[in-house]
Symmetry: C2
Subunit: 337 residues, 2 copies
DNA sequence: CCTCGATGTTGAAACGTTTTAACGACTGAG
DNA sequence: CTCAGTCGTTAAAACGTTTCAACATCGAGG
C-alpha cells in the first residue's frame, strides 16, 4: 500500500541517474545495452510503474483520445467506436469511451474532465446543438455523426436528409400513402434531418404534407418504440398509417414488438423501416428494412481528422457520407387483398 | 493555440496569490466571498482550465474509475457498464470505458496505461485467467463477471454453472435428448462453467454425457453463431441435436439466423436457448429463451466493492448472483408430429 | 492597552517526471 | 601527442498544481 516507487528509486537501485532511467523508458536506443539491462532489471524488481501524471505534466502529451458517446447501449455507436479505436490504435493512442447517455449535464462533466486531463483530442456525438459550450478550450474536438453548425471545427456526418428521403420514397413506392414517422426528441438534429428527408420524399411524390404523421418520442430507445406502437394502434382506423419510418433501429425493434404483441402483422398491417442497420436489425422478428450508414468508416475518418488537427496549416473539414437503403421483410410488397 | 493559462496567471489577474486560487477551486468556503467572486471572474475571463495532471501529481487522487470491458459491442456489457457508472457517479467519480475486444494484448496495454494514470480503481472482465499479470500494482482491481481464482482480489460474478444447468434442464424437460452446446473459446471461464452446468443437467436427468455435442466457436459473436449453425446442420441426421444451448445471446441470434436461412424452423427443428437475456433477445425473429443475469446490479455491486477497497480494514469479497431462466418461443413445447 | 482567537491570505516546498545543455571518457585521424 | 568527434551519462531546471505553516488583520474580552 506504499508502492510509491519512483524513477529515482529505480535509478538508485541500478546505480545510475534518473535521467538515464527516463531515457531507458523513452529512448531506449540512446542508452548502452548493458546499462539498459540493469535499469530494466531494477524496474522489474521494484515493480516500478511510471506516473503518467508527472510524465504528462512535463511532456505535455497524453497518448489518449476520448470519444463521448451519446448512448453506449446503442450498437450503432459501439460500431462507430470500433472504427475510432482502430484508427487511434494505428496512431499509437488509446481510446477512452465516455457515455453521456443523452444527458447534457453528464456530457458537460465529461468534456470538462477531458479538457482538464489534456487528452490529445475529443470525439463527440453531442446531445444537442449547444456546441458553443465546449468552444475553443485548447483541446481539439471533432463532431461525429453531426454537422458543425458553424465551421468552427471538423465534423464527420452522414446525409440524414437523404437517408430519410430514401426510406420514405421506398415506402411510397411500395404503395403506402399514409405514413408515420417515429422519433424524437426534436432537439436531436438527426431526427429533424430525417424528418425533413421524409417530407421531401412526400413532396417528390406529389403527396400532401399531412400524409406524414409525426409521433414524437422522448428518446431513441426500444421502450419508446413500444410505446409509440401503442399510440399508433390507438389512432382511428381511417387515419392510421400503413407504414412507419423510425428514426433508428431501436425504435423500430420496439415498434415491431408492440405490433406482434397487439396481434398485428408486419409488414401487412404496418410496414416498418428502421435506421442505422445495426447488426440486430437483420435478426429481428421480422428482418428489418433499414438505412445503412458506414459506421466504422465514420469513426475511423473522425479519428483521422482529429489527428490531423495538430498539423500546422490545418483547416477544418466536413466529411459527409451517403447512406444506403437495405430492404428486408419488414417492407415486403403488400399483398393485394 | 498557446492557451497555457495557469493558476498563477489567474492569480495575477485577480490580484491574489496562487494559493488562494487553488482554494477557490478546492475549498470555496474558506475564501472570502468578495475574493472568490474576483477569482471566478478572472478564471472565466482568461478561460482557465485546471490541469488535471498537475493536480493529480500533487494531490494523489484521480476522480476516475475505469472499466475494461471484454466486448463493447455486446449489449450485456454495456448494461453492466451502466450499473458501474451509476454507482461511480454517486461517489462523484467519472467512468472511462476501455474495450479489450477479447484481445489479451490490448487488455494488457489498457491495464498498463490505467495503472500509469493512477486511476482510483479498475474494473475488469478479463480475457482469460491470466490474471496474475496485473497483480498488486497499487491500483485496486475488481473482477466483474468472473471469479478470482485465488482470493487475491474482490470479484462479482453470476453462478454460471447453475445457469447452464437451468438452460439444459429446461431443454431436457421439453423433451430433448440430443443437445448441442455452442460456445467458445474454452479459454473463457464462463464458457467452461456453463458447459459444466449443462453436463450436470444431463447427469441429473440420467442422460449419458455424450448426449451433449459441444461445438466450439472462436468468439462469442453473431457471426460465429451463424457459422455454428451451418456446422450443426451439416451433421448426419441421426446424430444431429434437436436443441442448442448457446453460451450467449449473440451466438443464439446468429444460430437463429442461420436456421431460418437454411429453411429450418425454430423451435420445431431446433430449439434454442441463449444466455444473458439482452434486450434484443426478446425482439428476435423467434423470441429467445435465455438465462437472465442481473446485469446492472452486477456492475453496481462491482463498483461498490471497488470503492470499499480503500477502507482501512478491507477484506476481499466475492459476491455471486443467481441467474434466472426466461422462457420464450424459441423453446416452445415441441409439436408431436 | 494587551492578549487572544478567528478569519483570510500567502510564500515556498513538494509531487515525479522529461529535457537540455554540459560533461567526461574513448576513439581514431592527423 | 593532440584534436575533433562520438557516445553515454548526468545535474538541474522546468511542468502547474496542492498543501502547510506562517502571517496579517481585526474585533472582542479581560
Amino acid at each position: 500500500m506504499k508502492p510509491s516507487v519512483g524513477i529515482r528509486d529505480v535509478a538508485q537501485h541500478a546505480g545510475v541517474s534518473n535521467a538515464t532511467v527516463s531515457n531507458v523508458l523513452n529512448r531506449p536506443d540512446v542508452v548502452a545495452p548493458a546499462t539498459r539491462q540493469r535499469v530494466l532489471a531494477a524496474i522489474e524488481e521494484l515493480g516500478f510503474v511510471r506516473n503518467e501524471s508527472a510524465r504528462q505534466l512535463r511532456a505535455g502529451r497524453s497518448r489518449v483520445l476520448a470519444y463521448v458517446v451519446l448512448d453506449a447501449a446503442n450498437p450503432f455507436f459501439t460500431d462507430v467506436a470500433r472504427g475510432v479505436e482502430d484508427a487511434a490504435r494505428e496512431a499509437g493512442l488509446a481510446l477512452f469511451l465516455c457515455n453521456s447517455a443523452s444527458d447534457g449535464g453528464r456530457e458537460r462533466e465529461y468534456l470538462e474532465l477531458l479538457h482538464e486531463q489534456r487528452v490529445e483530442g475529443i470525439l463527440i456525438t453531442p446531445v444537442d446543438a449547444e456546441s458553443a459550450r465546449f468552444a475553443e478550450r485548447g483541446t481539439p474536438v471533432v463532431l461525429v455523426d453531426r454537422e458543425a453548425a458553424d465551421g468552427s471545427r471538423c465534423s464527420v456526418a452522414v446525409d440524414d436528409v437523404l437517408g430519410g428521403e430514401l426510406a420514405v420514397t421506398h415506402l411510397i413506392e411500395t404503395g403506402h400513402t399514409r405514413i408515420a414517422m417515429v422519433g424524437g426528441p426534436l432537439s436531436i438534429q438527426q431526427v429533424r434531418d430525417r424528418r425533413e428527408g421524409a417530407a421531401r420524399a412526400l413532396a417528390n411524390a406529389g403527396l400532401p404534407a399531412d400524409a406524414l404523421t409525426f409521433l414524437e418520442t422522448r428518446s431513441l430507445q426500444v421502450a419508446e418504440g413500444r410505446e409509440a406502437g401503442e399510440r399508433l394502434v390507438g389512432l382511428p382506423a381511417s387515419r392510421r398509417p400503413t407504414a412507419a419510418f423510425c428514426a433508428n433501429d431501436l425504435l423500430a425493434l420496439g415498434l415491431l414488438q408492440s405490433m406482434t404483441q397487439q396481434g398485428l402483422s408486419v409488414p401487412d398491417d404496418l410496414a416498418v423501416v428502421g435506421y442505422d442497420d445495426i447488426e440486430f436489425a437483420a435478426a429481428a422478428a421480422v428482418p428489418l428494412t433499414s438505412v445503412r450508414q458506414p459506421r466504422e468508416q465514420l469513426g475511423r475518418t473522425a479519428a483521422q481528422l482529429l489527428l490531423a488537427e495538430n498539423e500546422p496549416d490545418h483547416e477544418h473539414r466536413h466529411v459527409k457520407f451517403q447512406p444506403e437503403l437495405v430492404v428486408r421483410a419488414s417492407t415486403a410488397v403488400r399483398r393485394r387483398s
